[in-house]
Amino acid sequence: MKRRNTYPIELMINGEWKRTEVIAQETLLHILREKLGRTEVKEGCGKGDCGTCTVLLNGKAVNACLTLAIQAHRQSLVTLKGIGTLEKPHPLQESFVKHGAIQCGFCTSGMIVAAKALLDSNPHPTRQEIREAISGNLCRCTGYKKIVDAIEMAAEKLR
């Protein structure tokens, strides 16, 4: 069997540097889940149709499944767990919980990350702007209403 080319990479995840080895065609989603223990980043479709794998790459919300792992070399990544923790929850996380925006929870990780990216660049979004910002994140349970409510309320709280 042909020897595979592997490439060592290092990337900052939620403020910490991590190292691993990847092959050229491996996706960022794959290494996050399989090699770096970041299972809060979900796989729903593997090809950018659902948004459950949303992460912040250098501050921009992207699908981890559509990014090559090697392209994250020396880049900075933020996942849901980098946005807030039990000890120090982010207003978005608190707001999602408070407003019933979480049912099965599978879309939640990507949804909160996409919402964070929105609020970072637009602290006063209208409901329509919120909808547009999460239009790459599917939810099958909530019908989106309480998610939009939660993001709107979190934006207010952050101001």
Partner: protein, 767 residues
């Protein structure tokens, strides 16, 4: 008990916080050292003979630990069970085959299993398995499949799985009395559950030799079926259910469990198997497509006189839940209306398409589309207001459905229809090519399983020495707050704050069996079981406290970890003191309760008569749409959902179900269709199978009515499935209002609307 303190309050759910923090692990998030990766080889043909399977090259691939085919399965064929412990017989239980043996019956049918050291190795191994097929003719349309010369889908049995009948009065007489008769044929498509979490599980053999399967499922009690497949005693298979990333009925049948059990059994190592999204769409169950031929007769004053319907559903290649879904449709086919003469014939038929089974609503949304379109068309034909014609015909408490079940609980339809409609307000002014329209629809959906399944649920509650509480219940949590609603009930009854309650769920070895999370039954069944168990413990505690406080226990209440005297005296005791006293006296500080739904038995399987369900949830949807008459594109501007929920245990959760159900139904109405051509799924990913995005949805408004007359705890009714029922016809009726043409098949794509408008103008004929 006085005023409710926790039930009925807008309380954030237990599991929500952990999900927001990314702490809940879903099935695919688990790993074990030494884990192998399972993969499934699936048939590329819809109908074919398997001439030979050569697994040798795959087995030789370094890193492959096992390759299995049908001959390696101890019991490859058995009967499908759906978590119930009471066998029903009569064709309700169909053939369950783990791996295809001499023939394949649908495209995607599993043929072989592989376990390898890495996912990549397992995938490569699949490509090395050489299968020789001889393609055979197949049948892909259920009506064709009913014909005597149709190819047999499964050897030795008719393609027609079941023929059910509902008979009331004499329809000929009823149509004779009718002054107007409406006849139409309705069609609804294959639809996918499209939960965001693809099927996944991890299995291993534990230190006791028990095959343990951690899996995303709505039914952990498939452990019995898996044990039968392996030829093992039931207590040698354990299923642990994870928090499910969406079920909707798609994780109700066995999905990965059997494969995982076989692979771990044969290799002795942990094995993980996760479906890709394409695999999930191609190979797991779909909602039944139906062809529904309806004939409805009414007098000029709007009173219905007769209804005749023929329902044909496409069961796909295996029986699974098809007869059950059809039965639900039979009971619901006439709608919640008073009709003196009714004849319904329902058929569910095998084809070489992807198999169909449970999907949120389970046969109710399909017929609701038909009966709510029929009555809307009648209203137009007679010049009667759509609310009025419904009110004239709505059944009331104490009356019976056409199939004979008496509606023993409150029927809120007049209120839900009225409230939903009035919340619509003034119709948005149309502009240019965009016409606006408003429509309503009402429906009924059962909650609780069919009563001849002899459904039961169990819940175990124990109170610790410090007053904290542990609940153990087999309940599966699929995102509807199943687990947290039990915590709320316990918090209310035992006066213990939610933060002091922990719940362990979904473990066949360690939690009492609670039955399936399906049929909108968990709040009713496990809620009641939990209520019973909590009340027993409460009785014990208050009796003891009464002794200690020298007060009549009837005066005492449990509030905030204290026993208080509700009739004013200053006496009180801490919960901990009472618990310790009970422990010292050897009194039970736990209770496991079994709740039984009413039981009945079927004496025959052809004619549907009498009571089938414990109760129904009634509700209505009101919709306003904007239709661009040139492109055919429909935008939903307003969507109102009004339901009698009995009692909202957690209003935030209930609203969530209604909002989510409304959009689930909107997708069914407008954009969702699994297109299957000659057995091949043409919409393999979420780029082709279109779910509503945040940009497609209106601001859904929910109105809750609480009649208190449900059979669940505190008078609650179930809403998970009912919330979908009448959305599609409400939208279709609104479209009719906007453009003056009715579409009889879902989804209402822009192209269909343009075609229908052209036909109306007489330019082209619809074929």
């Amino acid at each position: 008990m006085a005023e409710l303190r926790i039930i009925g309050k807008l309380i954030p759910r237990q599991d929500a916080l952990e999900k927001a923090m990314g702490l809940i692990q879903y099935a695919a998030d688990f790993s074990m050292p030494g884990m192998l990766y399972g993969k499934v080889l699936r048939s590329p043909y819809a109908s074919a003979r398997i001439i030979s399977i050569d697994t040798s090259a795959a087995e030789r691939l370094p890193g492959v630990r096992t390759v299995l085919t049908a001959r390696d399965v101890p019991q490859n064929e058995s009967v499908t069970r759906f978590g119930q412990t009471h066998a029903v017989g009569g064709g309700f239980e169909g053939l369950y085959r783990v791996l295809a043996d001499k023939k394949v019956h649908y495209m995607g049918e599993p043929i072989a299993l592989v376990a390898g050291e890495t996912e990549a190795i397992s995938e490569t191994a699949l490509d090395l398995i050489r299968v020789k097929y001889e393609p055979l003719p197949g049948v892909f349309d259920p009506i064709e499949s009913m014909k005597p010369d149709a190819p047999q889908v499964e050897e030795g049995r008719s393609n027609v799985i079941t023929h059910f009948k509902v008979r009331k009065g004499e329809v000929e007489k009823g149509f004779f009395e009718a002054e107007v008769i409406i006849e139409n044929t309705y069609r609804v498509p294959f639809v996918d559950h499209a939960y965001l979490e693809p099927e996944s599980g991890l299995a291993w053999i534990d230190e006791n030799g028990v095959i343990t399967i951690r899996v995303s499922t709505q039914v952990i009690e498939h452990f019995r079926g898996v044990a039968d497949v392996l030829g093992l005693p039931h207590n040698q298979v354990r299923v642990i259910g994870t928090y499910v990333g969406g079920g909707f009925g798609g994780k109700e049948d066995i999905t990965v469990e059997g494969f995982l059990a076989l692979l771990t059994y044969k290799t002795g190592r942990p094995v993980k198997l996760t479906y890709t999204r394409e695999e999930s769409i191609l190979c797991h169950s779909k909602r039944h497509p139906y062809i529904m031929i309806y004939k409805t007769g009414a007098r000029r004053d709007g009173r219905l006189t007769a209804m005749e319907a023929k329902l044909v559903s496409d069961a796909g290649a295996y029986v699974f839940l098809s007869p059950w879904v059809l039965l639900y449709s039979m009971v619901d086919a006439a709608g919640p209306y008073r009709i003196p003469h009714v004849r319904v014939d329902g058929y569910t038929v095998l084809t070489n398409n992807i198999f169909t089974s449970a999907n949120r609503g389970f046969g109710a949304p399909q017929v609701c589309f038909a009966y709510e379109s029929q009555i809307d068309e009648l209203a137009k034909r007679l010049g009667i207001d759509p609310l009025k014609i419904r009110n004239i015909n709505f059944l009331e408490k104490g009356e019976s459905l056409a199939s004979g079940q008496v509606l023993e609980h409150h029927v809120a339809l007049k209120e839900t229809t009225k409230k939903a409609f009035h919340a619509l307000g003034e119709k948005t002014v149309p502009q240019g090519n965009v016409k606006t329209g408003q429509g309503i629809a009402s429906g009924m959906t059962s909650y609780g399983r069919m009563i001849f399944l002899h459904d039961t649920s169990r819940s175990h509650i124990s109170i610790e020495m410090d007053g904290s509480v542990t609940i153990r219940a087999g309940i599966q949590d699929i995102g509807g707050g199943q687990a947290s609603s039990l915590c709320q009930i316990v918090a209310e009854v035992l006066g213990v704050p939610l933060k002091d309650i922990k719940i362990y769920i979904a473990d066949t070895a360690l939690t009492p069996h609670a039955g399936t999370t399906t049929a909108t039954r968990q709040l009713y069944m496990s809620g009641n079981a939990t209520l019973m168990a909590a009340q027993e413990i409460r009785k014990t505690l208050l009796r003891k406290a009464g002794e200690m406080m020298r007060t009549d226990p009837q005066r005492l209440d449990l509030v905030d970890r204290e026993v208080i005297d509700t009739e004013g005296s200053e006496k009180s005791l801490s919960l901990t003191e009472v618990v310790k006293a009970c422990a010292s006296d050897g009194l039970p500080l736990y209770n496991v309760a079994l709740f039984k739904a009413p039981f009945r038995d079927l004496t025959q399987y052809e004619r549907i008569e009498g009571t089938v369900f414990p109760d129904f949830t009634f509700g209505s949807h009101a919709v306003e749409v904007a239709v661009d008459v040139e492109t055919g594109k429909v935008q939903v501007l307003k969507l109102i959902s009004c339901y009698d929920v009995g009692k909202a245990i957690n209003p935030l959760s209930v609203e969530g179900q209604l909002e989510g159900g409304a959009i689930y139904g909107m997708g069914y109405a407008l954009t969702e269709e699994v297109i299957v051509e000659k057995g091949e799924v043409k919409t393999p990913s979420l780029s082709e199978y279109l779910l509503p995005t945040s940009m497609d949805v209106p601001e859904v408004q929910t109105i809750l009515i609480e009649s208190g007359d449900g059979v669940g705890p505190f008078g609650a009714k179930g809403v998970g499935e009912p919330s979908v029922c009448s959305v599609a016809p409400a939208i279709s009726n609104a479209v009719y209002d906007a453009i003056g043409v009715r579409i009889y098949d879902l989804p209402l794509t822009p192209e269909k609307i343009v075609k229908a408008l052209k036909a109306k103008k007489g330019k082209i004929k619809i074929d």
